[in-house]
Symmetry: C2
Subunit: 327 residues, 2 copies
């Protein structure tokens, strides 16, 4: 990150008597935790702070200090001169349109997404940070505010959720350094883990049982495919979103390189999630079905029956597994 | 830990030309990783090192640098004057008997278990450490050896496995500090996570499917019970050990306070694993069946049919859930 931009951000926030914080649609632990920590710190400096998010705070994050104060911003509601966008790659992510921002306002942009559009007057963007929470930690420190339990728990939650408990590839030495300093504040991280991760609806477990029962291995065990039909979702009473993470049950089987979860979202329309472990580029596979993503995690939507979608994906991946290593 | 003991340990190792390292039966990532890191460091100092463990290195740890050199010690094999026991609460854990240790030998004891028997001539025991790996890290530093990739990966594995990826309550600020320093060495921690955690036999997934299909909730959803019969193990081709961790699928359901997994290990003999989230003392429950453990994790063996064992455990926990909170 350009340290100059970060310094400018600190200066702008120091001089602002009132700040509105915005975070992104479909909020996650990083955007909520970062926004709350910064806002609570600004209040310690005597500023008026408003917390805006277009969507409700997910149930497993409502325990966070300040979470109940987050509300959707609507035209006509209070907007001070300083607007801080947290964890948003662009304004659309905050559900705000260019024209809605007063001309005299200062747009401040704090984010870690490499795709950030630098839409602010000040753009403190650091793609090296595992979570915006790491940057929020630095910001609170630079503002000279002493961390309290509430802030520390918000920051820890931000980092915990965006790194999958320090397991994703974005985790760095710096991530652990910040976690060390947050734990040193005496936060109850066990309670946080319980709040964040241990709140699975029963329907999700029922859905997992159905997904596992559909599991088949192909290509000498290098490819695993699970399918969930509309009937599976109906019988278990689970929404589509509850299948998130199921694909890891396939990816983590010994010998598996490629994992697939096919979800029938409506008749004739199937969403495919693709993962690989060490070498297969699933982004290439997904692209063949007009989808995309990253080398190790990608997705696509296939207009076909569940059975046909499975045949198509199976053929594509079997071929890629056969030729892939010979290049 | 008494820093004096740690200093004595460093002194003894510095002056020893030959060192034999021992770790415990049913080896885990902490004992293997710690032992290997220390041994490799001692070799950098020009010492002859032997690595002894009574059991084979688990398959998912064989990738560790030096793992192929670990072998069981048998009477008559090389034993130098300096013997370092790593992660062993007592000599029995290393499958060594008092009488087998030469009278002139110096027993060095490096461990983090609170139950450590201080069986050594030097006892560097620190129950505050999340893993012996944290102490091994300090030791390597104090020996003045520059960490290399192999040592760093061994130490990271030790800490990763004993903290469940920084999720268990033993994790401290110090744990994250050490992890930060290991990541700064440029270790491929993603590959380590894959080696350690992503090697599930297919039989385990088949067994999980059966366990989930048995899941029932009781006590207004505060208690969840899963059962696995001998037939379930046979049909899925899985050994008893593969059911480890299944209970977390129950514990993490929204609203659940107590989770139970009952495994029929032979006709008329059922092993019960008990977990709780926030307040129920499952150690008390397990004690009623002559078992034990900790407040949040305990176990017992019940001589009964699977159905009878389930009734007994269900009644005991339902009662505890009802009266527990009124104390």
């Amino acid at each position: 990150m350009k340290t100059e931009a970060f310094g400018n951000l600190v200066d702008e926030l120091r001089k602002a008597p009132e700040v509105a914080l915005f975070s992104h649609v479909s909020p996650d632990g990083d955007c909520i935790g970062s926004m709350l920590a910064i806002g609570l710190a600004l209040e310690k400096l005597g500023k008026r702070v408003e917390f805006y998010n277009p969507d409700p705070v997910p149930k497993n994050l409502t325990f966070l200090s300040g979470a109940s104060r987050i509300k959707p911003w609507r035209e006509g509601m209070f907007l001070p001169q300083a607007l801080l966008f947290v964890d948003c790659a662009d304004l659309q992510r905050a559900n705000v349109e260019d024209g809605q921002i007063p001309v005299q306002a200062t747009c401040l942009n704090l984010d870690h997404h490499i795709s950030n559009q630098n839409f602010g007057h000040v753009n403190a963007v650091d793609p090296e940070a595992a979570a915006t929470g790491e940057l929020a930690y630095d910001l609170v420190r630079r503002l000279g505010v002493r961390l309290d339990q509430g802030m520390a728990e918000n920051l820890y939650t931000a980092i915990l959720t965006d790194t999958g408990s320090f397991q994703y590839g974005n985790t760095t030495a710096r991530t652990h350094q910040v976690a060390a300093e947050l734990l040193a504040e005496g936060i109850e991280f066990i309670r946080i883990h319980h709040q964040i991760f241990d709140q699975k609806p029963l329907a999700q477990v029922r859905l997992l049982e159905r997904a596992l029962s559909s599991l088949e291995l192909f290509a000498d065990g290098k490819l695993g495919i699970m399918v969930l039909s509309i009937a599976d979702f109906a019988a278990s009473g689970a929404e589509d979103a509850l299948s998130e993470g199921f694909i890891n049950h396939v990816r983590t089987i010994e010998g598996v390189e490629a994992a697939v979860l096919l979800r029938e979202v409506e008749a004739g329309k199937v969403k495919a999630g693709l993962r690989s472990n060490l070498w297969l580029d699933v982004n290439v596979i997904a692209s063949r079905f007009r989808g995309g993503g990253h080398k190790r995690a990608a997705g696509c939507t296939i207009q076909a029956s569940l059975a046909d979608a499975k045949s198509l994906i199976l053929a594509a991946i079997e071929e890629a597994l056969q030729i892939g290593r010979s290049h």
